[in-house]
Symmetry: D4
Subunit: 220 residues, 8 copies
């Protein structure tokens, strides 16, 4: 039984304007090394998401070529260099309800910066103390797209989308316990939102939110 592993989508860049990203969580370190080697051979950049430190260390140890780095906060490996900042694209702000949302917010931020997008993270603006969010309102209005990460009951994107007119992308976070464990309550809260025009991605999908923002920013 022979087979060819990892039929990589080398044309994603020309088709979608996106660097190829590989979901690292259920892949072995051997599979990740082989995939990175293919990209290196093609001269392409790459992003590997959801890699824990242990697996990253094994990959970095096994890699025999240059250009691979681990970003521990965002739990991602990258191959190659980020694109030049493209100032015509406008800025994205990534907000989070609490400090525990950091890994997902950082994944979104890294994916955007790797595509040359100016990005800022504003943590800990959850709605249990509204003043934290309201005090940032003018700053937020300067961004082109807002990505709002929130676990627990996930109200932050709802409140935000009622206050600003730009695109708001909600990212439910799998922190919480009891009914909020796993991020379902946050996800359903965002989907049920009474604020018009809020859109949502899968739980913890910081990369997906970043690519959604990129699709918007790439509209000339």
């Amino acid at each position: 039984m022979t087979y060819q592993e990892a039929r990589i989508d080398f044309e994603r860049l020309s088709r979608l304007g996106m660097i190829e990203a590989v979901w690292g969580e259920h892949k072995t370190s051997d599979q990740i090394v082989a995939i990175l080697r293919s990209f290196k051979a093609e001269g392409q950049a790459a992003l590997v998401t959801r890699v824990d430190r242990n697996k990253a260390d094994i990959v970095l140890e096994a890699i025999d070529f240059s250009g691979v780095q681990f970003h521990s906060e965002a739990r991602c490996l990258t191959l190659g260099s980020p694109y030049e900042k493209n100032s015509t694209f406008g800025e994205v702000i990534v907000l989070s309800g609490g400090t525990s949302d950091l890994p997902v917010a950082a994944e979104a931020g890294l994916a955007l910066r790797w595509h040359g997008i100016k990005t800022e993270l504003i943590l800990d603006v959850g709605v249990a103390y509204l003043q934290r969010l309201l005090s940032q309102l003018e700053r937020l209005k300067a961004a082109k797209v807002l990505i709002a990460c929130a676990g627990m009951e996930g109200s932050l994107p709802t409140v935000l989308a009622g206050l600003v007119a730009q695109p708001v992308i909600g990212v439910p976070i799998s922190v919480g316990y009891g009914v909020s464990a796993g991020g379902r309550a946050a996800l359903e809260g965002m989907l049920s939102s009474c604020s018009p025009g809020l859109v949502v991605v899968n739980i913890d999908n910081g990369y997906g939110a970043a690519m959604a923002a990129l699709r918007i920013l790439q509209l000339e």
Copy 2:
């Protein structure tokens, strides 16, 4: 097979300080008439919740004694008169996120007023437009207990409990569609709330929220 229907808890008043309430939704009109007759015979007041207009009309038609009224907005039948307003108990404010929450908010209000509690309803203060809630803040701080009804993503009680120090009782409402249909998303959002000390009752349980407020107000 003989049996004795409706073993009524005539001692609830002395034990819990609450008028006996009967859940009308799954009872036939015959059962409701028989129960009201028993209360009348005991000289007690009673509240029958979740009665639609059709069933109420049949009950009112069949009743051959005085003192029964239907409250259409709250979908409740009452027997007897409300208690005297008891000003030492303090006031309860019932808020709702949207107009569709009215029947449940009205059920809570009716149950409280029937126990002599001063009550006000403030509708349509949902968080999609925060200013509506913030403009009421001083008014809200005058109440002893706040009951906050909300469907969809159910953020109102969370935002409220972050702003005021009093007891806040969240009532999820079964309005909505898709993931918010049935009120589960609102319920789980309230239970997951990042605001400390928010308590919750069953979906659409306006009566239960009222009795929880009464337990608090009765503390001397």
Copy 3:
């Protein structure tokens, strides 16, 4: 117990650039008439979604002022006239997997056209016969934003977002039976999508998808 009904958000237009929309499904015809009268008095346009023909007929009968119309395919009432077509905003295409998705697709289309956005509907391009979608590809690339409605397994937005670089907004539809009844399978399929940057709104939320597109188009 006195209260003031329907605390309407008359400032939504200036804050978010959106005509106020009212969710009609759980409101009585009396409540809808009262709300429309308030908007009329303010000289504002309005959109009432999820109104079935029966309720619409009662509302239209009860209305004693001009400017209200029922759009039966989209199940919406409107007050006032649509905005002038704004050609700088670019076009939105609304796709659907099957004929049964029409009401939701039509709701999205109506909401966009009411805000002056050029919109086209392309029905029946489900992935069970790929050629139907592939033959439209060049046409689709001309649009600024794509809204893809799909019930059953909901694959259309996933396949589409792998083919085009623009923003794609998935709308799960509550048609189907067995495991796809209610639209959950379609929703979860879209959220789980392996295509990067697909965003999703609540099941059947055509209006929400339209407002998300509007947020994008309003970015100058």
Copy 4:
């Protein structure tokens, strides 16, 4: 990508009368140390909940200032001293159905005592042997608020709220297996309770139940 971590709500005390509490479960020990240092700098007390012994040991090792303690039974870290007992506030009794509920009951007790509230724990009064609860009834009536923790089928708060007139706060516990694993059955049992006026918090949320009790006790 720079950001400012942990935008702490230093005004919670003046706004809500509550010491700031930090949810420790999904935070790294580094994040917890940084947060505690901020509170220390502000001269405020703090509570960190859901910290296991391993993480606590690492935090205590890393802390270079005084006043931090680990409470192993309640799985909490505290900074600063508890408030003086405030005898005007009345007493809270925390009950539990079984010995396995101890960590959550202890978290509730610790949070209350840290706010100066007199608190007693009564374990193992589950309804499988009613006499255990009934024998405590007079003792229970002396408390101002009752917090009832129960896993499995979660009947304790229902039975209790049918026996006493005070506020009863149900806390579902995530012990159990099969259908009761995770605490959902207990939660839904409490929400469905046939006893009027029982209120509920999230599964295992001992801290939340304590803050709900505090909101009630702070009513003058």
Copy 5:
């Protein structure tokens, strides 16, 4: 496409000691008539469960042979006569938490009496007012098997099985609203019960509980 309808299990009586029962809910009146005719031809008794009054009237109208009756409280049709009371079998008591549980309790009672079992119904002994149950305790100890029906949080069988040593069969009831709608909360509460040796049948399955009792009583 020819086929033979309703391959009836005429040997159930000799194999299991049970009269054949037919689940009437999803059958047409034509199907029910045909099935009853087959039993009549075989000289066997039969029970048809979950038949509403409308369908029963159509069946009774269409039947052209004697011995069929409708039992409206239990929503069952019977063919033939009940067995002689068999005093060696001992008695079954069917309890219910509330009046709304009557149809299911009556179905259980009818099925038992049709097999010659002495049966009593005791309604309205829900645990929100424990005294109602405790006052019946001596009476209950005289029965051989206890069937306890309860909706909402379904605590009655748990409390009962902690008080008596006989077999207790819990029947969850689909009354309730919000999280208790459909009877899932009651079912899961009974399965999670902390009382040892409580057994459970499907929601609303009064007939099944009766047959479980019969299996026990038939042990000589």
Copy 6:
């Protein structure tokens, strides 16, 4: 907003060997008439599934061309004539656990016969009385493919697939109540089956099971 309705897959026949089928449940009678007219114009046969008698009557009334019939047991409309019996294809037997499964079993049978496949229905061979199934075993071994429909706990396909070597396709049926309502329990039972090589289709999807059998029969 103009659009072209019902982009029909006229090439399905040449591509997959299947007559085009239209899912009628969420379509209006107007939509169904228009679709049938398109097929008539193309000279193709068609099958419309899940049409209740009321909708069928309206369609038949509105149709102004020949060749449309309603099959009430199978709840289907057909256009055109069934294919000639193709004896090289072998026979399919459709089994069902109970009489209530008839509509789905009949839908499968109709779809097969319309493609020229010899088909027999054997109802009421549920596993509560094994002898009914075992007595048919030799008959079953003569078929090329077996389709087994079952509601409730859905054991029939599991037991069957342990007894015979041919392909067995399980069809869960949405009859039942309590935990088996809607067919989920039957579906999950079939998917969990301990019998090797049992395959499953969606709940009530008789048409899908028939097309799966057709794919098998069309080999070589």
Copy 7:
């Protein structure tokens, strides 16, 4: 905060005829040792269920009194000796569908033998190969009560209860993967069973099934 741990139900024996059993899974080894010491002091026997080998070793190490044993197959600790075999009670047979069900079947068997009940285990009689079960039928008819353990789709109790007239208690087992992981599919299959009079206990609750059998056997 002082409290008294483990309010043990020493009267369970006289009230229910059952040795006190303690659920060991969520208790610390310290708690288990303390509880066993209390029983020892009272001169009572005890059973601790769901104890893994590691925890058992720590307990056995810490115990400073005689009479405690670990039963590794059943994952239980016992204190004291089993009761004398009571031949008037009749025999219980515990069946299982597969070898993986052994720990739960063994827990049921141990609990019964500790109460003096004659018990036999018959493993691996799952319905994927019916002959295994049918060949045991005469042996099974000799037992007074049958306990049938099954994971995956859980058909064994259904098939069994259609073949024999005695009480059958179904125990769903949490083995399986995909939709059968955790035992829900088996549980719902048993509750949905088309065999009359099958009763069910919680997933993996071997002890509960044993106590249900004991309640039946104790009927004189």
Copy 8:
């Protein structure tokens, strides 16, 4: 309490044409060794699925007879040799959406080759980049049966079954996170598929898909 372990179905081969397979996940290494020894004694081949490397190493260490191998990619143990390739049976192609699906695809492939079926694996043809699948179309049409493995939203089998006329067996894979974790979204997507005649097996059930293919191939 004596019992006979592992009542093995040695007749499966003659009855179903399948080598006996044992589900290894919840069995101890001792149980697996004992089962393999029984097969060896009978001179039969065997397959043990879902065995991780650790358990496999312990089994291989303990085995004192020849013919047992571990297949690490497929996580299976085998006893004996594969059957001769049977060229009359035709070929099976196993496809997968992504590299992470490899273990399940390999399990299917191994099970087929062990029965003498020619099999090829084609990985990484997910629908996010359609061209990968479309470029293989001619190759796919040469196979007799297609097994399509996919996690996340699971669209691959739907798209495939719309393109080819052969039997397509969908295998949902438990890779993913958020709503796709555990494979439920993929499973429900496949069951809801708009492509006619797609059949499905349990999540990760590569072995089951292989046996379903075998049932088809064995039809002469």
